[in-house]
Amino acid sequence: DAGITQSPRYKITETGRQVTLMCHQTWSHSYMFWYRQDLGHGLRLIYYSAAADITDKGEVPDGYVVSRSKTENFPLTLESATRSQTSVYFCASSESTATLYYFGPGTRLTVL
């Protein structure tokens, strides 16, 4: 199916564990983004990528790692999860810098 998907949709983990959130898009969009959504903070950019093998930090990158070996995938890893990383995570893709974002359905992560 065409589109942008995220997995898992829901995840519960414990403090200190490593967690990887997956994002996959089928359009071959160059640009991909990871945001977290927290009440009262809107969406905050964690990392973004302009193309395969090109990534850069956003507003709140600490504690997260990304990679982009293939255009269609943009996984986000929490190296050692903390309770403050409990959030809803959204992946998005975009064809160019002037076009709209397509958002995935989100991953709700709870860190106990």
Binding site: Y31, T97, P105
Partner: protein, 114 residues
């Protein structure tokens, strides 16, 4: 650095009345501006955008937005609100010079009452 402000956390309107959701922005250069809507437990969906051209932009579901450069505003409007318009609305500004990363406002919850 670019920024977006949505001064109202909550907007309440009666069905059939016009609605406005406010957005102001700060960006160097010419802005790329967007509105997105989020329904409960869903991802964000695109409503409309301003890149260049006419200041009045029309989008999905009867929404429109007016770009005002002097006031650095991009308010979302609809002539006649529907109960189904109730959702969380986000304004965003996109930095075309920096991989197109977007800065979002904190969101405005729109409630349309029958």
């Amino acid at each position: 650095a670019q920024s977006v402000a949505q001064p109202e956390d909550q907007v309440n309107v009666a069905e059939g009345n016009p609605l406005t959701v406010k957005c102001t922005y700060s960006v160097s250069g010419n802005p790329y501006l967007f509105w997105y809507v989020q329904y409960p437990n869903r991802g964000l969906q695109f409503l409309l955008k301003y890149i260049t051209g006419d200041n009045l932009v029309k989008g999905s579901y009867g929404f429109e937005a007016e770009f005002n450069k002097s006031q650095t505003s991009f308010h979302l409007k609809k002539p006649s609100a529907l109960v189904s318009d109730s959702a969380l609305y986000f304004c965003a500004v996109r930095d075309k010079a920096n991989a197109g990363k977007s800065t979002f406002g904190d969101g405005t919850t729109l409630t349309v009452k029958p």
